[in-house]
Each structure stands twice: as C-alpha cells, then as structure tokens.
C-alpha cells in the first residue's frame, strides 16, 4: 500500500515538474522583455544585469515622444473596421449555411479554403489594385486585405455557434408573428452573443497581429503597430529598450483578450464541422 501511494506521489510531482518547466519556458521571454523595458539605457545590452533601479525613460520615449501611439490607433481602426465588416457580412451568411444548409458541404469547404488561402497569392493583385485606386499606405488597403481571411474565419466560427441553437427557438418566434429574418435578428443573434463576442475578439486579434499585408500595403506613414515594431530591426543598442516597450504594447492587450476567448476558441475553430 505504501509503495502504491509513493508511486502516485512521485507521478504527481513529476507531472507538476514538467508543467512548471513548460510554464517557465512560456513566461521567461515575457519577463525578460518587461525587465529590459524598465532598464536604464546603459544597461539594456547587458544580459548579466538582472537587478537595477527601474527607469521609466523607455516608456516615456515610446508613449510620449514617438509615433507608436498613432500606429496603435491605426491598428485599432483597422481591426475594428475589419471585424465590423466581417460580422455584418458573416453573421447572416453563417445563419444561412447553418439553417438552410445553403450550398451544402462544398460551400462550407469554400469558406474554410478561403480562410487558408496563402497570402502570397493575394498580395500581388491586392497591391496592384490598391496602387490603381491610390489607396496604398492607407488603412483602407489593409482593411481590404485583412477581410480576405477574417471574414471567412468569423463566418466559420459563427456557423458552429448557430448550429448549436435549437431550431425550436426561431420556430416559436415565427409562430409568435416574427418573419424568419426578424427571428434571426431579434431571437437567434442575441442567444449567440457570447459566440459573436468570441468570433469578434478572435478576428480582431488576427487583424492586430498581421504584419505581412500591412507591411506591403501600408508600410509608410500609416503603419500598423506590428509594422512599426518591425522597424526596430536595426538592433542599435539604445533601441532595444524602446523595442521592448513597443512589443509589450502589442502583446499585453491580446494576452488579456485571449483569456476571454480560450474556452470558445476550440468550438469556433471546428466551425460546426468537427464536434469536439
């Protein structure tokens, strides 16, 4: 009996040990970037210095005396506009796919295929189109590019969430005198609100994180935040502290958002095709 309990105890400690190693591996880079962002300029390139009196200089430089806040605003604008467009176009379509099975399996597959389309294929024509329309280096160009994958992702998510709503719900609403569209709009949509929120947050994160399209379509005055971060590429010693600040500004909001969507993400990614 003792042997059994000892073995179980060893297993528990082993499991916890492995999980702690994984935890440190994930957290250490965040910790180090935070540390560097608080270092005085002369200590930034000193990996052997872990203790110092913190300085807010890097943060002041980036937040008050650089264009980073403007690039941040661009990112927010592009993300919100893309997500709004995705919800307006995606929600009714997802409802049609879910309820009327419009287009059947091939239609669902087309949505998934659009989501997976390599950016390499779309960047050349999008660049030329935006050039012709004189929209290069504007948020509109990036919004159009982000729509190519965020609309399909959001639609795909919503199909899964609509599939879960019992049909009796809108049937009852229609008995009560609603049209089918009213039933969708006033009864079904409110019940999938958590799903809509998760899809919107996930879509926003995808837009917020993209650098490839934004770099090529809007790499000048109207950069988004990831493109601005890429600009710290030169790696001059003094820049590292500011780079750390910019990185933290880009990742902290997303990390906070991630805690809200983690649970629903799986169902969304499955898109009603895979039942987890």
């Amino acid at each position: 009996m003792m042997g059994h309990r000892l073995r179980r105890w060893i297993t528990e400690v082993g499991v916890l040990g492995i999980l702690l190693v994984a935890l440190v591996t994930v957290l250490f880079p965040y910790f180090w970037i935070l540390l560097v962002s608080l270092k005085p300029v002369d200590l930034v390139s000193r990996p052997d210095v872990w203790l110092f009196s913190p300085s807010a200089l890097n943060w002041e430089e980036v937040l008050l005396r650089s264009d980073v806040p403007r690039y941040l605003a661009n990112s927010v604008l592009v993300g919100l506009a893309t997500v709004a467009l995705a919800l307006v176009t995606g929600a009714p379509a997802a409802y049609a796919f879910s309820r009327f099975n419009t287009g059947g399996g091939p239609a669902r597959f087309a949505i998934l295929a659009a989501e997976m389309m390599p950016p390499a294929v779309l960047i050349v024509p999008l660049f030329l189109l935006m050039y012709r329309l004189a929209l290069l280096d504007t948020p509109l160009a990036v919004i159009a590019a982000h729509s190519t994958f965020i609309i399909p992702v959001v639609t795909w998510f919503l199909i899964g969430f609509f599939d879960e709503v019992p049909r009796e719900l809108e049937e009852q609403a229609m008995v009560d005198g609603y049209t089918r569209f009213q039933a969708f709009y006033k009864v079904v949509l409110p019940t999938v609100r958590p799903g809509l929120a998760a899809a919107a947050i996930f879509g926003f994160v995808l837009s917020w994180n993209d650098m490839f399209y934004a770099l090529i379509l809007s790499g000048g005055k109207n950069k988004t935040l990831p493109v601005a971060i890429a600009g710290y590429w030169t790696f001059r010693g003094i820049e590292m502290g500011k780079m750390s600040v910019a990185i933290l500004i880009a990742i902290v909001p997303v990390l906070v958002a991630s805690f809200f969507v983690q649970r629903r993400l799986v169902k969304g990614l499955g898109g009603g095709a895979v039942k987890f």
């Binding site: 990996p47 309820r99 419009t102 024509p125 159009a144 994180n209 490839f212 890429a230 997303v254 991630s258």
Partner: protein
C-alpha cells in the same frame, strides 16, 4: 410571412453581403493574379506589360532559389509541426489529468499563440543574440557556446521559435479532443487491466484521430505562411539558408519588383500545399481503414 415565396429565397439574400465583399477582395484578386502570372508585370515598368504565356511557370524548373526556399519551408513545416504535435499531445495528456492548478497552467501555457509573430521573432532575436542575449549568456555560464543564427543552425533555431509560439495551438485542440472522448472505452480498457501505454496507443490515439487530422491540417497550412520570424531575424540569411517560400515571393515581388514572376510562384505554392493536404488526408484515411 413564413410561406411567402419571393424570387430570391431568404437563404440566398442572406448570402449577398458576404458574396459581394468576397467577390471584391478575394475572388477578383485571385483571377487578376492568374492574369498577372501570365504577363511580364514589373513594378518598375507598369506601362509596358507584355503577355508571356507560361514563361514564368516554365522558368521555375531552373530556378534554384525557388526550390531552395521550398525545401527550407518543407524542413521548417515538418520539423516544427512534428515537434509541436508531440509536445502539445504530451502536455495535453498531463493537463487532462485531474489537477488543482489545471486551469491556471492551461491559461498561461496557451498565451504564446495569441501574440503577433513579429514580436515573437524580435523577442527571440534579442534573447538569443550572441552579444546581447540572455540565453547565450546563461548557456555560457554552463560552458555551452551556441551561435543560434549562424550558418547551419539558423533554420533550426527558427523552428524552435515556432515551437514556442505554436505548441499551444496543438495543446488547445488536442486537450479539447481528449475532453470530448467517450468514457466507456477507457473504462473497458481499465477493467481488462490494459497498461497505460497500451491504452494510449490502442484507445486514445485512434479515438483522437479526427481531431488530430484537423489540428495537423490547420497548423501545417499556417506554418507554410512563415514570414515574420525570417523578416525579424535573418532576412533569409546566412546566404539563402533560411529563405522560406513566402519570404522568397516577397523578395521577388517587392524587392526585385518582378510581380508576374511572384504571382506565378504563388500559384505553384497553392498547388504544392493542396497536394500535401490531399496526401495527409489520404494517409490518415488509410491508417483508419487498416485499423
């Protein structure tokens, strides 16, 4: 109202907004791209565009840089996805056990997949830098000297960075898959006195196969799009040893301004990825039937 039959049923009308927008931003550019790939489209000479037929496609045969980039990408995709699947599955098994701290570990371990890859690239470029980096410094204390981005090693370092960022994705899907498995087969295996290893191989893995397939396809296709780490860290170097396919197409199209050639290469990329997805799908199906 329910029985009203208009010429366009509601189901179709609800698809119109999606259809219009995707036609404008996705379908039209796709077709335009095919047209571009058949022309001598150069950013420096947009007034002088000539039809060249399949020349860009035929020229790929002798294009060493393209195939080098394709090879690098395949090494990267297979290496990264294999490691991520193994680690993700292992961690999913550990987190699937009843554990007081489970939700805490889960929430933290999933965070890397939500971060913008350019930040991850720059973060690790800094962390792994020979002079400025804290990891070479710590390894140096243990007497280990590694130049993470030197010749021969850079591509593998980039694989490890991808593993840091994307193992969480495999963990997320596989853990959800484990949680959804029926309890009965495991109960039966326990009653029969099956070992943990046997249960894992003969019960867990076969049941998990559909989820595994979805996870592998999503992650694999996503891994083909690797660009930011290369842009942030090596810009394809040393030499062309870390040039991946998306970086190569970016270089040809937007550094050398040869848009026609870039468009053709992108189409070949689609063909190759579709082929790989089909192969993976068939391999999983065959394995299923043999069972």
């Amino acid at each position: 109202m329910v029985t009203r039959h208009s010429r366009f049923p509601l189901a179709h009308r609800m698809l119109v907004p999606l259809g219009v927008v995707l036609l404008a931003v996705l379908i039209y550019p796709l077709l335009f791209s095919a047209w571009i790939s058949l022309h001598d489209y150069e950013l420096t000479a947009l007034q002088d565009v000539r039809f060249v037929g399949l020349r860009h496609y035929i020229a790929l045969q002798g294009d060493g840089s393209f195939w080098n980039a394709m090879g690098n990408t395949l090494v990267f995709v297979f290496g990264a996805v294999a490691l991520e699947t193994l680690l993700g599955f292992g961690l999913a098994l550990l987190l699937h056990r009843p554990n007081r701290y489970r939700d805490f570990f889960r929430a933290i371990l999933l965070t890397p997949m939500f971060i913008t890859p350019i930040a991850v690239g720059l973060m690790f470029r800094f962390l792994l830098n020979q002079q400025l980096g804290v990891i070479p410094y710590l390894l140096g204390k243990l007497g280990i000297q590694i130049d993470f981005f030197g010749p021969g090693l850079a591509l593998y370092s980039i694989i490890l960075i991808d593993v840091w960022q994307w193992t969480p994705f495999m963990l997320l899907l596989l853990l959800a898959g484990l949680e959804s498995l029926p309890a009965a087969p495991f109960e039966a295996a326990r009653v029969d006195g099956a070992s943990a290893w046997f249960t894992l191989r003969k019960v867990t893995l076969p049941l998990l196969k559909p989820v595994l397939l979805v996870a592998l396809i999503i992650r694999g296709l996503d891994a083909f799009k690797i660009f930011e780490y290369i842009y942030a860290i090596t810009r394809g170097g040393p030499g062309e040893s870390t040039e991946t396919i998306l970086y190569h197409i970016y270089k040809v199209g937007f550094r050398f301004f040869r848009l026609g050639e870039a468009a053709a290469k992108a189409y070949v990329l689609i063909a190759i990825t579709l082929l790989l997805v089909a192969l993976l799908y068939r391999a999983m199906r065959t394995a299923e039937e043999r069972r």
